[in-house]
Every structure is written in structure tokens, then in C-alpha cells.
């Protein structure tokens, strides 16, 4: 894995907040008109640079918590602050999603008609006007995640591990301080999973990115410095240095 040769877009500001990267206070989220309580008064603080795994049985609220942190959804009650932003009173949620948080999904969620490098360019449309600089940074990011030679391949032509690496490169495009990953190894074989985890871990360690990973995979939980065990919409146990 090489270092990024090109700086992030100039419009991306450096984190200028103090305090925790994530702070949840009494976060509640229900679905089906209140009949299904996905999160039930979650309190949580994640400091900058932490590697946190969120584990628990299906339906315990892990992904819902992650989606709220990414400002993809809004809580019914409680407050969430991420990278200094109160997500309940957003000045600009689109900008927040573009530069403050990077998302990696279980399904890689790449745009199938675009090549790998074009997929990585997509978030840069919001921050970098120069087409050449967008392309240059996207290529560097692909090099960074180790698949520069697959830049012109479309998602159907890539293996599962390669697609997930493209997704990670895309999540890093605007150099966000927080990376949120929802089952990033969920559909990968063990060897590929290990390589993707190596990449995420090195990102957290070397680039001081805060990493929150929702997972069923015990290997992921083993590597994390902190593991949150969730059950029925609550954090049942918060284990540091497991």
C-alpha cells in the first residue's frame, strides 16, 4: 500500500472540532409507526482515532445506529454529534456526508455503469472542480488500496474483494476523519476478508481515521480496540481492548 501522492480537494477543510468524534445521547429510533423499536436510548462516545466494532444479533439495531451516525436517517429522539456537527440541526447534511464521513457498505454499492476509477471520482464532484485533479486523486486512491491496475474495470468485472477495495477508496475520496463500515467483509471469503481488514486497520492506525465497523465477523471484532455488544436496541456491553 503506497502513500497518497495528491492532497485531498482544497474545499475539504481539516477537522476543526474538539471533543469526541461521535457522541450519542439517548438516541431512539423506531420503525413501522413506533411498533418496532430499533434503538432504545443509546448513549455513546467515540473518541477520534478509535477502532470500534459493533456486534450483536440481527435486528439488534447495529446498522440503524450506523445509518444515524452517517446522517442517512434521523433519530426519533435524542441527539447525535459527529465530527463537531449536531446532526439534528444540520447546516448542510449533504456536505457533511461528502467530507466528514466515509461509508463502506456490505454490498459494495458501486455504480455498475462506471469504471472503478470513475466510481471513486463520484464523491469528488462535490469538492473538486478540476476534472484532471479528480481523476488524479481517484487513481492515487486506487493505488493506495492496491488495485490501480483495475482502474478501468467495471464492477461486474471485479472480484468481491476488489469491489470492496474500490468502495473503501471511494469512502476515502474526500479524506473524511470518520469511516463507517456496515459488514464490509460480509460477502467475502476469509482470505479476502483478511486483506480488506488489513486495509481498514492500517487506515485507522496510519492515517488516524476513526473507524466504526458493524459486523457479525468475529475476526473483525478481534482486531478492534473496542467492541460494543448490542441487544434489543441497547448497548449491553462496551469492552475496551478485548
Amino acid at each position: 500500500m503506497s502513500e497518497l501522492a495528491i492532497a485531498p480537494p482544497r474545499s475539504v477543510r481539516a477537522p476543526d472540532f474538539e471533543g469526541p468524534m461521535i457522541r450519542c445521547d439517548g438516541v431512539t429510533k423506531t420503525f413501522e409507526e413506533g411498533r418496532l423499536r430499533a434503538l432504545d436510548g443509546v448513549d455513546l462516545i467515540v473518541e477520534p482515532g478509535e477502532f470500534v466494532a459493533v456486534v450483536g444479533p440481527s435486528g439488534c439495531g447495529k446498522s440503524t445506529l450506523l445509518n444515524l451516525m452517517a446522517a442517512l436517517d434521523q433519530p426519533d429522539d435524542g441527539t447525535i454529534r459527529v465530527a463537531g456537527h449536531d446532526l439534528g440541526h444540520p447546516p448542510d447534511l449533504d456536505h457533511f456526508r461528502a467530507v466528514d464521513v466515509g461509508l463502506v457498505f456490505q454490498l459494495d454499492n458501486l455504480l455498475p455503469s462506471l469504471t472503478a476509477v470513475e466510481n471513486v471520482e463520484v464523491p469528488l464532484f462535490t469538492t473538486e472542480r478540476s476534472r484532471r485533479r479528480r481523476r488524479r486523486r481517484a487513481l492515487d486512491l486506487l493505488d493506495f488500496v492496491g488495485i490501480a491496475d483495475r482502474a478501468d474495470a467495471r464492477p461486474p468485472q471485479l472480484s468481491g474483494g476488489e469491489r470492496q477495495r474500490v468502495a473503501i477508496a471511494r469512502a476515502l475520496a474526500n479524506e473524511p476523519p470518520l469511516l463507517l463500515a456496515d459488514e464490509p467483509t460480509g460477502r467475502l471469503d476469509s482470505a479476502t476478508s483478511a486483506r480488506v481488514l488489513d486495509l481498514l486497520e492500517s487506515l485507522q492506525r496510519e492515517r488516524d481515521v476513526t473507524l466504526v465497523v458493524v459486523t457479525h465477523d468475529p475476526d473483525v471484532a478481534e482486531r478492534a480496540r473496542r467492541v460494543l455488544h448490542m441487544l434489543d436496541g441497547r448497548i449491553e456491553r462496551d469492552v475496551r481492548d478485548p
Binding site: 457533511f96 456526508r97 454499492n109 455503469s113 462506471l114 463520484v122 464532484f125 462535490t126 476534472r131 481523476r135
Partner: protein
């Protein structure tokens, strides 16, 4: 990758659907262009007719349903000539009949003396004289069509005429028609002592508009026509064609708009999850809307280009029909193509407005959950 490149890739993903939509809009644009070319050509031909022989305007019967139905007493020519600032008046009896392959052969009957002031560009033979019986002058195009030369006999309508001369004219109706003596044509058309219209030339320095107004006031039951736009005074044909043109343009917008809307709704619906991804990586609703609108506009502009080219080709093909050649001239003016592009842009905007709005209303979470 540029934004427009991304838009293009989106269109190319569903090639068949994009092409079918393009064809649908292109047909509508072809209709708009073809009608525009024909209408403008007709007006141009009518303008040439009004000012033929150096006339400033023509006089016709007020309230006539059609110019060819106008009937004026022959002595009205003298009455008009007596008006101030009138240099010359040429009464003409118009008789539309068949000749050769031309089903709209314009034969006009004028006094022999008036022909001299008409400054005809004779290419063969001579002008008509009083002792010519059933003599006719043919336009060059008509002479070609009838394979006629000076001295030959031609059948025009039910009557035989002797060709006295052949003239050249820029006006299509004149070039593909003929000129006969007024008395001869009155006899053939069975319209004694009448003319259809009178061509008026004003004295140098006088205003044709002022003279025309004065004639309308001084001479009862007549109207003056200075250009094609004033034809509606005696002929609703142009008004109808203009109205049909506008109606078809509107219809093109509605039908094309529905087609584009169908395509764009399908496209946005199919890409719901992808739109969720775009929103999740920070694209604003406005940027997504711009993408959808641009896809639609790109499709419609391509359709406008194809439609305009086909429109030009179709109108040229129509001109190959002998029945049309002597009657219709085509005019490819820039405003026709501007209108085609405007119609295409309106179709694109109208068709994409709802899908684009829907795309912006999708919450990232809902869109990502979409299967």
C-alpha cells in the same frame, strides 16, 4: 470523468429505450420542421405573387372566402387608377386549372397593354398582341413541363392555347403558370367583364401603405394585400396552416413530453438505489436533479438534430412529386430550426421535471433500502 460524461453513460446504459425515445421525439420534431418549411415556403411564394411585375400591393374583393374566389368588376381598374399616387394598375383574372402534370396551373389573364408595364423577362417569342387569338405566354418551368416552344399548341384546362412567348420568373406560381389575354381568359373561364384582383404600383416616393388605405376607403367592398401576412383578409388558408403549425408543435410537446417522462420515470425508478448511493456520498438533491434534467435535455437535443435532418430530407422528397413542384416552394429559414430546438428543449424539461423532482425527494436511506 466529466458531469456530462456521466450523464451520457447513464443514457447509454439502456440503449434501446434511449433510441426509441429519441425516435419518438425526432418524429415530432420532423413534423414541426416539415410544416415550418412548407408554411414559410408558401408565404414566400405568396409574397412573390403579390409583388409580381413590380406591384406594391394587390386589391381583392372584400369578404371573399379565398383569393381565387375574389370577383371585381373590370371597370374597377379605372376607378383605382384614378386615385392619387397610383402609377399603374393591372387587373388580372386568375384561373387555376390543370396543365400537364401540374394540377395547380395558375393562368392569369391581363390586358395586353398592361403586359408592357409588367417588365416580363422574355426568354423566347414576344409579348401578346391584340390580334393573337388564344395566345399564351408560359413560364419557363411550365414550358419545360409541357414540352412547349413558341408556336406550339398546349392544352391548359379544357382549352387549347398557342404559345406566343416564354418568360423567366423567380415567383414559383408565375414560373409554373402562364399569362393569357384578359378577354380570352374571361371567355374560357366564363367570367365576362370581371377580374379577380388588381396589382397596384404607386408613384415613386409615395407610401404604398398610405395609398392602400386610401383605396380601401375610396373604393367600396375591396381590401388591399401587401404581403403574405395580409392574405388572411381574403384567404383563411394561411391562418389555418399557421394554426395547424402551432397546434402540431403543442401536440409534439405533449406527446414527446409524455414519452420522455415515461423514459425518465423508468430510468429514475430503476436507479433508485444508485441515487441513494449518490446522496450517501454527498451529492445534493439539486445535483441529482441536474443529472436527470441533463439526461433528458441531451436526449431531446439529439432528437432535435435527427428530427431536423429528417425534416429537411422529407420535404425535399415531397418536392419530387410533380403535383407539388409547380405549387409549393420550400424555405429553410433559421427560425424553423430555432423553433424545433425550442420545442425539443421544452419537451425535455417538461418530460423530466417530475422524475427529477421525485429523484430529489428520495431520502438516502429509503433509496439505499430499495431492492
Amino acid at each position: 470523468m466529466t458531469f456530462i460524461g456521466l450523464v451520457g453513460k447513464n443514457l447509454l446504459r439502456q440503449r434501446v429505450r434511449s433510441v426509441l425515445t429519441l425516435v419518438g421525439i425526432a418524429i415530432a420534431i420532423t413534423t414541426v420542421v416539415a410544416l415550418g418549411v412548407v408554411t414559410t415556403g408558401m408565404k414566400s411564394t405568396a409574397d412573390d405573387f403579390v409583388t409580381s411585375g413590380g406591384a406594391d400591393f394587390l386589391v381583392a374583393q372584400e369578404g371573399a372566402a379565398d383569393l381565387s374566389f375574389s370577383t371585381l368588376p373590370e371597370d374597377i381598374v379605372t376607378e383605382i387608377a384614378a386615385q392619387p399616387d397610383v402609377a399603374s394598375v393591372r387587373g388580372a383574372l386568375l384561373h387555376v386549372t390543370t396543365a400537364g402534370s401540374n394540377p395547380f396551373f395558375f393562368l392569369s389573364g391581363v390586358e395586353h397593354e398592361a403586359l408592357a408595364s409588367q417588365e416580363l423577362d422574355l426568354v423566347a417569342g414576344r409579348l401578346l398582341e391584340d390580334d393573337d387569338e388564344r395566345g399564351v405566354l408560359l413560364g419557363e418551368k411550365a414550358a419545360d413541363d409541357l414540352s412547349a416552344t413558341v408556336g406550339s399548341t398546349v392544352e391548359i384546362g379544357d382549352a387549347s392555347w398557342i404559345v406566343i412567348g416564354v418568360y423567366r420568373s423567380e415567383g414559383l406560381w408565375e414560373a409554373s403558370g402562364g399569362i393569357a389575354g384578359l378577354a380570352d381568359l374571361q371567355e374560357v373561364a366564363q367570367k365576362p367583364d370581371t377580374v379577380t384582383i388588381a396589382f397596384v404600383t404607386v408613384t415613386p416616393g409615395a407610401s404604398p401603405t398610405v395609398v392602400a388605405d386610401r383605396i380601401e376607403q375610396a373604393v367600396p367592398a375591396v381590401v388591399t394585400i401587401a404581403d403574405a401576412d395580409e392574405y388572411s383578409k381574403v384567404d383563411q388558408g394561411f391562418v389555418l396552416v399557421d394554426a395547424a403549425n402551432v397546434a402540431i408543435s403543442l401536440l409534439a410537446v405533449v406527446i414527446g413530453g409524455i414519452g420522455v417522462m415515461n423514459t425518465m420515470i423508468m430510468s429514475v425508478f430503476e436507479r433508485t438505489r444508485e441515487i441513494g448511493i449518490l446522496r450517501a456520498v454527498g451529492w445534493t438533491g439539486r445535483r441529482v436533479m441536474r443529472m436527470v434534467l441533463l439526461e433528458s435535455l441531451l436526449l431531446c437535443i439529439a432528437a432535435a438534430v435527427v428530427g431536423a435532418l429528417v425534416g429537411v430530407a422529407v420535404t425535399r422528397l415531397v418536392l419530387l412529386a410533380p403535383a407539388v413542384q409547380g405549387f409549393l416552394d420550400l424555405a429553410y429559414t433559421p427560425d424553423i430550426f430555432v423553433r424545433a430546438v425550442v420545442v425539443a428543449l421544452i419537451v425535455g424539461l417538461v418530460g423530466a421535471s417530475y422524475p427529477a423532482w421525485r429523484a430529489t425527494r428520495l431520502s438516502p436511506m429509503e433509496a439505499l433500502r430499495y431492492e
